[in-house]
């Protein structure tokens, strides 16, 4: 049985079902991260000092305790991964499967690079005994960046599926496969966009 409107747009919505589905999912993600950003704002408004006392030291700026250079590197990595992601999709649209593999491989590698840098950053905090229970700043920092990291892991798993086992669809139904990569690309861009908001909010302001 053929599932309808997986590639062709539905007459009533104007887009295919996969795109509607992923945008509904992303809308729920906006609410999830929006709620946590709201929690950050209220915690910060209610705090007499921010980040406040951590490990017996009083910090006046988040950049005094967080590693801004590493976070900046991670920002550049994610911007680069968005470019390679859109190029992988464009390669399929131009029927260049070899280039798709190259760009998708680069996207996956950049995703792993982000996680490795993040692991270094977390390791630095843990080695100083800076844990989520230490104070509200560290709690919201670990929750927001940790949840974002889980989303990156989810995106890598999806991209790896489309890089290897899922890529078989290119031979049987190339239009649908191209559509799937666009959907995966929308998710990946959303995760990257969350970081674009998260980085200045947590690290700089």
């Amino acid at each position: 049985m053929q599932i309808p409107f997986t590639v062709a747009p539905r007459p009533d919505t104007g887009v295919n079902n996969a795109k509607i589905g992923v945008w509904l999912f992303l809308a729920s993600e906006v609410m999830l991260f929006g709620g946590l950003f709201s929690a950050y704002i209220f915690l910060r408004i209610g705090a007499p000092e921010w980040p406040g006392e951590i490990g017996g030291h009083m910090y006046e700026r988040a950049s005094d305790i967080l590693n801004v250079p590493l976070a900046t590197l991670n920002t550049l990595i994610l911007i680069g991964s968005s470019v390679t992601m859109v190029m992988s999709w464009a390669s399929l649209a131009m029927k260049r499967f070899d280039r798709y593999r190259l760009y998708m491989g680069a996207t996956i590698a950049l995703g792993f690079a982000f996680l490795i840098v993040k692991a270094f950053e977390y390791g630095e905090k843990f080695s100083h005994g800076y844990l989520p229970a230490e104070n509200n700043f560290l709690a919201i920092y670990f929750v927001l960046t940790g949840l974002h990291g889980l989303h990156v892991i989810g995106g890598i798993i999806v991209n790896m599926y489309f890089m290897w086992p899922g890529a078989r669809m290119w031979k049987t139904d190339p239009k649908r496969f191209t559509n799937r990569i666009e959907i995966a690309g929308l998710y990946w861009h959303f995760v990257d966009l969350v970081w674009i908001f998260l980085f200045p909010t947590i690290y700089l302001l």
Binding site: K19, W23, T72, T75, L76, I79, S82, V83, V86, W89, A90, A93, M94, E182, G185, L186, H189, F190, D192, L193, I196, F197, F199, P200, L204
Partner: protein, 69 residues
């Protein structure tokens, strides 16, 4: 919204972040802060040029979804 439209939104947001980061870096002291600001403004400019070229290309070639955003 298609991936190419979302990509343009993302590039605009990234360029704005570079601008904001550059301004933030200038509030610091020392040559390192000035260098960080300069690199940030440069990356922002590169993103603006890339975004403009990307927009022009998808509008001109129309190789994806008939060229519509």
């Amino acid at each position: 919204m298609s991936l190419k439209a979302f990509h343009i939104v993302f590039i605009v947001a990234s360029a704005l972040l570079c601008l904001g980061f550059g301004v933030w870096a200038l509030t610091g002291d020392g040559a390192l802060s000035v260098a960080a600001a300069a690199v940030s403004f440069l990356v922002g400019a590169v993103l603006v040029v890339y975004g403009a070229r990307f927009l022009k290309k998808v509008a001109r070639t129309g190789y994806i979804a008939g060229g519509k955003l």
